[in-house]
Symmetry: C2
Subunit: 399 residues, 2 copies
């Protein structure tokens, strides 16, 4: 049994193995609110989405839920009418097992694209998970949503709302923005704070903008990405309604903190990754240019392989920014790797700096700072390196 | 000595080793026109460009040239005022050696970014190359412009302009759109046809649009990409002036054919590549969407690793199109791999088709056809697979 990462009053969770994965690993998770909880959701912006996303995106609009059922091992994507029927059936089975209405339940699926869900197994799994629901079940749930992840991801924070202390906690999976066949980044955040759905929506949008949306493993985006934030209100007190509610800022910060913590865990566990990389661009003409530059650097196969090799290759960083046609002033452009200045105002800092940077790049956490010398735009993106194992995982994966 | 790939009346070429590359491999090439030739050029659109591109871009505007001097092993990029001085000095040395004006000469450099050119060696190399100039020197020139290329690239075509037969021929290098540190795709096309610079510009733009601009190895674009088309007029006759000149279409087709041939050679020699891949997208809302979809598929690390592994993974193809937010109708979307239909109107073609596709994907030339089912937009892009060797070449490369 997994050690429980956290307890959040008003929520129970479970994770079980029901046989979707040939390996026999856990593949079905339930997160259930004791009473109706407020909810906000963010979903993939892909033009190819799975039936579970279609259904949950529709239902989350009510702002109320009793929980979510998640399976791994099969994404239920590109399955047409059958996929829509199966997604609805999963919520119906979960609702029945815990005694609520189907429309109060949300659903996610992650795994192979284009294969049908083995619904008999899924139904048995849902029953077993409902029987196993427990306050300390989030560790098991975190395991059951994994695909090519090598470790379960969870994070939590405690925050004071007036005199009451509340918990914000979450679990996540997804080691590419999309994995092999294995679509999807999934994250579920829960809190016992009282909050309106509208307030949660704003908080989640902002937290995701500063965390999940700043992660790129391979520049891809999945058919099934789903982030949910649920609040049970079990801590009591007046609900958080807007930025002026007492503690609103602290609560939002806690959500961002948990989301950022989970995001870094995802980056660190990126397929085949050996390094967590933060790319910080400053001095761009504006924030949009800064973000474009940071994403190009983070997604550049040449930069990512250089990081894997520990090569302080600022030439590759410059070229990918240039190839993206992002304005810069070369004679004012500077690059720092792990704090070591390797390019200063467009001139190489020389072989001694190179040696120091080479040494610093051995670290499992790498920071790339690029100043484009044209303005005040800034942005930061997390990513990981590109390794033999990334190729191995993705070339040798077969369904 | 390299076997001469072709002769083109009015041109001589040479390639020598002058010691820029520590390996001692050839690293300096000259292509010289016996008399003033018409010329057109296309250069990188990167916001970071080398001094040689700045200089050649300026000079090519006159539409006249006596030739080009090229070195490999050092790109002369990000070297500031010194870089500009060195690029100009290369053309001056070449001009002196062959008895023309410096401003009549063009220049390219390819190799490590951020290192100064060893000008004493370069000057000696230019003299040696001038002494070695020969009608059959294009094979040696093709070798001397290589960086991480494993084979020299050359192509030629013969075409009738009225009663006269002319040759169109070219050499090229560049096995990433940019290589390691090793910036650059370079291509030099020559012909003995008579043609005005304005006509050559139009022909080259169109040929590049159908060839070099359709190649992507890793989604990068270099600081030094240069394509030149020179015409000596030695075949005689009235110059090609516009689309109505006799033979204009046939000449343009020959240029496109040579450029396409060179492009395929570049893709096949892509860093670490085991397969030449053509991605053809049809049924997009418009040509722009088709091209965006084809480029996303061609640059997707997940698709490229699947191709390396011989995995007929249409799920990855769909997801990267979707993640690019390219409109499609899933229930009308189809995918063929090497002619084998694996997804038909949004439904998997089943395990037997999968087996057939797996077998077909063993071929060194792979065709991916995707129909998005929404309109008449179409586009094709060439690329290669992503392999252990790509990571090896780029992670273990050190200056």
């Amino acid at each position: 049994m997994t050690k429980p990462p956290f307890f959040v009053p008003g929520f129970r969770a479970a994770g079980v193995a029901c046989g979707i994965k040939p390996s026999g690993d856990p593949d079905l998770a339930l997160i259930v609110a004791d009473e109706v909880a407020s909810v906000a959701g963010i979903f993939t912006r892909s033009t190819v989405v799975g039936a579970p996303v279609e259904l949950s995106r529709e239902r989350v609009r009510t702002g109320r839920t009793r929980g979510v059922v998640v399976n791994s091992g099969c994404s239920n994507v590109a399955m047409g009418e059958r996929g829509r029927r199966d997604a609805a059936a999963m919520t119906a089975a979960a609702a029945r097992a815990i005694g609520v209405e189907a429309r109060e339940m949300l659903v996610s699926s992650t795994g192979v694209i284009g294969e049908p869900l083995p619904m008999a197994k899924v139904r048995r799994g849902i029953k077993a998970a409902a029987d196993a629901l427990a306050r300390d079940g989030f560790g098991a749930a975190a395991r059951a949503i994994m695909t090519t992840d090598t470790v379960p991801k969870h994070a939590s924070a405690r925050v004071k709302l007036g005199r009451r202390e509340v918990t914000v906690a979450g679990i996540a999976k997804g080691v590419g923005m999309i994995e092999p066949d294995m679509a999807t980044m999934l994250a579920y955040l829960v809190s016992d704070a009282p909050a309106t759905p509208a307030f949660l929506r704003g908080v989640l949008r902002e937290a995701a903008g500063a965390s999940f949306n700043r992660l790129t493993v391979d520049g891809e985006g999945s058919t099934s990405d789903t982030v949910l934030l649920m609040a049970s209100g079990h801590a009591g007190g007046a609900p958080l309604r807007n930025a002026k509610s007492p503690g609103a800022k602290r609560f939002a910060d806690a959500v961002t903190q948990v989301a950022s913590d989970l995001t870094k865990q995802l980056a660190r566990d990126g397929e085949g990754a050996t390094k967590l990389v933060e790319v910080c661009v400053t001095g761009a003409r504006n924030h949009r240019d800064a973000e474009r530059a940071a994403r190009r650097i983070a997604n550049s196969m040449l930069v990512k392989t250089a990081l894997f090799g520990g090569d302080p290759n600022w030439g590759r960083i410059l070229q990918t920014v240039g190839a993206g046609r992002i304005p810069l002033r070369l004679d004012r452009t500077s690059v720092r790797l792990c704090g070591v200045s390797v390019l200063r105002d467009g001139a190489s800092a020389g072989p001694a700096a190179r040696k120091r940077a080479e040494k610093a790049l051995q670290s499992p956490e790498v920071r790339i700072e690029v100043d484009l010398g044209t303005g005040r735009g800034r942005a930061a993106i997390w990513t990981c390196d590109l390794t033999y194992d990334y190729v191995k995982i993705n070339a040798e994966y077969t369904t």
